[in-house]
């Protein structure tokens, strides 16, 4: 069941490649806007790089959340899935995993190139990739709660950002903090461990909260 959901969502995403690419380009464009707004001063850019990349990743992964349940909700698939004997928890987890593969992994892969634009050193780039690798699944998991809560609402798109962005703050702090620490030459272990802890916590609780929210929306 879990594998089926993941494969199905991946197939659907593959058939709508443009959606996936637009999230990725959104990420690239937002990051590239900052030097234009702030000026080409390389030392300053290097200082703000972790924050900029991370905030852009937050916004990009929030944009992709709208797709998570909306189509399945509209054509009734979600209702069918909720009637299967398998727990809704697994369905949510599978959909989140597919979403992360489609929208999170490309961000992680492109981020070293964006980091180069900001003059980050090789080891900082590595930490940037590592922190995004740990952090973007948390964003997708926590975001799934927001996506489930706003399912079928008129103001869904804007509302989801109000609900989800405050909850993203710890991820932002530890993710950008790890890269900051590596630029400053101090230990990054603490931030990365805390990111890992957030990942484990959200892996356990977020699908549960999201499936509770889905049941409310499906009533």
């Amino acid at each position: 069941m879990f594998r089926w959901v993941v494969l199905r969502d991946l197939t659907l995403a593959w058939r709508r490649r443009a959606d996936v690419l637009s999230t990725l380009f959104f990420f690239i464009i937002v990051v590239s806007l900052f030097p234009l707004g702030i000026g080409p001063e390389m030392n300053l850019l290097r200082l703000i790089a972790p924050g900029v990349v991370w905030v852009a990743a937050l916004l990009a992964s929030m944009l992709s959340l709208g797709r998570l349940f909306a189509n399945d909700y509209e054509d009734g698939t979600l209702e069918q899935l909720s009637l299967t004997p398998q727990p809704l928890y697994l369905v949510v987890l599978g959909k989140v995993l597919a979403l992360w593969i489609v929208s999170g992994v490309p961000l992680v892969l492109i981020s070293p190139i964006l980091g180069l634009q900001f003059g980050l050193a090789a080891d900082s780039l590595l930490i940037l990739v590592g922190s995004l690798l740990l952090g973007t699944p948390v964003l997708a998991l926590v975001g799934s709660i927001g996506a489930a809560l706003t399912l079928g609402l008129r103001a869904g798109g804007v509302l989801i950002s109000l609900l989800v962005l405050p909850l993203y703050i710890p991820v932002l702090i530890f993710g950008a903090g790890a890269v900051d620490a590596s630029i400053a030459g101090s230990s990054v272990q603490g931030s990365l461990s805390l990111l890992g802890a957030l990942l484990v916590l959200s892996l356990v609780f977020a699908p549960w909260a999201a499936s509770a929210a889905l049941r409310i929306a499906l009533e």
Binding site: I145, L159, P166, A209
Partner: protein
């Protein structure tokens, strides 16, 4: 007397009406008393002068903002778990007052910050987490406002409030850690001086006043919510009849 009778919004409505003066009148008296002690009896602080007197509203407001969020989440969870409409209505009623107090504590804090620290805003851990608390309130209120069906609004709000309550300590500690990482503000909000007795009295009296005020206002708003919802229910049953 059967207390469970009052779990029904329709039965609670007249009771709430009778309870309100028992809270609003003491609240008014304590506000006057607390402000009198705060402004005329409490001594002037030797470091901050008279500017410190804003704590008599600032500190109770900040406390109320935090307590009310937890209280709101408890009511929302009870309303969701036991399908108790009144508890859910309490949660939505509390959310507005809680957001108001959080906002008030941010405003008074920045008014206090200008003369004492020389700046309206610092990215201090406590200030930042209060700001995030306000965002959480706004999320709860706007989610409930966006859902037309009141029962779905109650339950969705409950999920969000519970997720929020779990996140509050995580956010608080992450913000604190972030602040020390950025070597942060060197100003402490209260350098933990031994606080003079009249100051403490004034603050506690104001806190009690804020509590009583909250109860009164929450009950008034609860009555409005009951009227709104039960009225539509009545209209619906009238239409089907």
């Amino acid at each position: 007397m059967n207390l469970y009778k009052y779990a029904s919004p329709v039965n609670f409505y007249p009771l709430a009406g009778k309870l309100i003066p028992w809270f609003s009148i003491p609240a008014a008296i304590l506000f006057v008393l607390g402000l009198y002690i705060g402004f005329f009896i409490a001594p002037t602080d030797f470091q901050q002068g008279d500017a410190y007197r804003i704590i008599f509203i600032h500190v109770p407001a900040a406390w109320m903002g935090m307590f009310l969020y937890v209280l709101m989440a408890i009511y929302a969870a009870v309303g969701w778990a036991f399908n108790a409409r009144l508890a859910s209505m309490m949660a939505s009623s509390i959310s507005i007052t809680g957001a108001m107090f959080t906002f008030l504590s941010l405003v008074t804090g920045s008014l206090w910050g200008k003369p004492t620290w020389g700046t309206w805003w610092v990215w201090d851990a406590r200030l930042t987490s209060t700001l995030i608390l306000l965002f959480l309130y706004i999320g709860f209120i706007s989610l409930q406002a966006a859902i037309d069906d009141p029962r779905r609004a109650d339950r969705a709000g409950a999920v969000l409030a519970i997720v929020g309550v779990i996140n509050v300590p995580i956010i608080y500690f992450s913000v604190q850690w972030w602040n020390t990482l950025h070597q942060g503000a060197t100003i402490r909000i209260l350098g933990k001086p031994t606080i003079a007795a009249p100051m403490l009295t004034a603050m506690l009296v104001m806190l009690a006043a804020c509590w009583l005020y909250s109860v009164a206002v929450v009950l008034i708003r609860l009555r409005c919510i009951i009227l709104e919802r039960e009225q539509t229910a009545a209209l619906a049953s009238e239409a089907t009849a």
